[in-house]
């Protein structure tokens, strides 16, 4: 059984297509990088896979079941979007305990303590989220995403707006998750950094899959689609 399978997923807003007939399969334990220009449909695809958005047509199966029909299946999905997705007036610990209760974690306090230790959040565990820097907020958001021990992680631009050190920390988290058998779909604009962690590249262009394959050919396709090929030539001459 595949971890994620989208079949003919199309999303229409008014008259324009955000996604058109996207079929994608992620095997268990696979890590796939999702690329494309702004507006190519990366975030829409991730939100549809996370059951935050219903496709106009097509289907999404997570570990063989539809997360819209089987709400409990959502516990297997971890989604980290653009925003932090935490309550600014609550402390990191309060936020995590709240989401742990919703996720149905058996002993929320223990699980929260464990995840705080794992992500080295202890220093700021009792600080309100609004008082934290962007990097620490991002780390707290990761802690929220990992609370339910997801088997499928959907991560929208993990390196965007972060300094080098925090980006490296995000890479380490992804490596840890992969080694734990978690399937990952990571959207990014940083091809090199992302593909250092992934097995496969998928490139979206105007809502369609323009490339699905290995890293080397993917690099050429990526540069072509992003319009980077010409720029590189100019730099080299």
């Amino acid at each position: 059984m595949d971890a994620l399978q989208t079949s003919g997923v199309t999303k229409v807003y008014g008259r324009s297509y955000a996604l058109k007939d996207v079929s994608l399969t992620l095997a268990r334990g696979e890590c796939v990088g999702l690329f494309g220009q702004n507006g190519a449909g990366k975030s829409t695809l991730l939100r549809i896979c996370a059951a935050l958005l219903r496709p106009s047509s097509g289907s999404v199966m997570v570990f063989g079941s539809d997360p819209w029909k089987h709400v409990a299946q959502r516990a297997a999905i971890g989604f980290l979007g653009h925003g932090v997705g935490l309550y600014p007036s609550l402390t990191v610990r309060e936020n995590l305990e709240y989401f742990a209760h919703l996720a149905g974690v058996a002993v929320p306090a223990d699980r929260v303590r464990e995840i705080i230790d794992r992500l080295e959040l202890g220093v700021y565990a009792d600080a309100e989220v609004r008082c934290l820097s962007r990097g620490w907020q991002q780390r707290a958001a990761i802690a929220r995403g990992l609370l339910g021990e997801p088997h499928l992680l959907l991560w929208d631009e993990p390196f965007s707006g972060l300094d080098e050190r925090t980006s490296e920390r995000m890479s380490e988290v992804l490596i840890q998750l992969r080694s734990g058998g978690c399937t990952c779909l990571v959207s990014s604009h940083d091809y090199e950094r992302t593909m250092a962690l992934c097995d496969r590249a998928v490139i979206l262009e105007r809502g369609r899959i323009a490339y699905d394959g290995g890293e080397q050919e993917g690099r050429v396709a990526y540069r072509g689609i992003m319009g980077l090929a010409g720029k590189r030539e100019r730099v080299e001459t």
Binding site: R47, A50, A51, L52, L53, R54, V71, A72, Q73, R74, A75, I77, F79, G81, H82, G83, V84, G85, L86, Y87, P88, S89, L90, E94, Y98, F99, H101, L102, A103, G104, A106, R144, G148
Partner: protein, 229 residues
């Protein structure tokens, strides 16, 4: 382990209460606005005591509903602003429970605000306790519950609207008309000291409104949220 719906509901509710009592972003503006409305009414009319008893019910409900709209319109807006609504939707929690949690927390804030306003109502309009004061409180609770059910749904419906604060009352008040008529009539009957049986029809109307609209809102909430994603 499948999460227990009641535990999830308790978490959703207690999170809202904790957030509100930490930030006071809804309760304080609601109370101040309600107090201002009552103050203006107090100085605007030169009614005889009998006329005052007839008009007071209407004035009270204007103060309640207008100030509640102010607070409830923001209840989902803040969640959307923080991005935390998405985080909640990602959890294996029934959408209807999210509605119930928000409805219960909005109802709690409304009751707290009304409990703070009522002493001012009695002082401003020079009333002593009515013979059927318990029923008066029951009418307030029933009317407020219906209002919270309708406005919680519309708060979610207007999440992505640009002029959310303006749109909210325009959508909520037409739907709430039957209940507000019932609430004003029942409250005025009790304030005038008339037999409780005269208010019975209006109280039944509010009860029916509450049941119908709370159920409808619970069912429709999932579809409303989908449109906002």
């Amino acid at each position: 382990m499948a999460p227990h719906p009641l535990k999830q509901l308790a978490s959703l509710y207690s999170k809202d209460i904790k957030l509100e009592f930490r930030s006071r972003e809804s309760l304080l503006p609601m109370f101040v606005f309600g107090l201002l409305v009552l103050t203006i009414f107090n100085f605007s009319f030169e009614f005889s005591p009998a006329e005052m008893k007839s008009a007071a019910g209407g004035m009270l409900w204007i103060a309640f509903t207008f100030s509640l709209t102010l607070g409830i319109s923001r209840s989902f807006g803040l969640e959307k602003e923080y991005g935390s609504l998405d985080s909640t939707l990602l959890m294996p929690v029934d959408r209807g429970l999210i509605f119930l949690g928000k409805l219960l927390s909005n109802f709690t804030f409304a009751l707290v605000q009304e409990a703070l306003l009522l002493p001012f109502f009695f002082v401003f309009f020079n009333f002593s306790l009515f013979p059927d004061f318990g029923w008066f409180l029951a009418v307030i609770c029933l009317g407020t519950f219906g209002f919270c059910a309708v406005s919680t749904l519309f708060s979610a419906l207007t999440l992505s609207a640009r002029m959310r604060e303006i749109l909210m009352p325009l959508l909520v008040f037409p739907v709430y008309i039957p209940a507000v008529i019932g609430s004003v009539k029942a409250a005025s009957t009790i304030i005038r000291g008339e037999p409780l049986a005269w208010a019975a029809m209006w109280i039944k109307l509010i009860v029916v409104f509450d049941i119908v609209f709370a159920t409808l809102a619970y069912i429709l909430f999932e579809f409303v949220l989908e449109e906002q994603s």
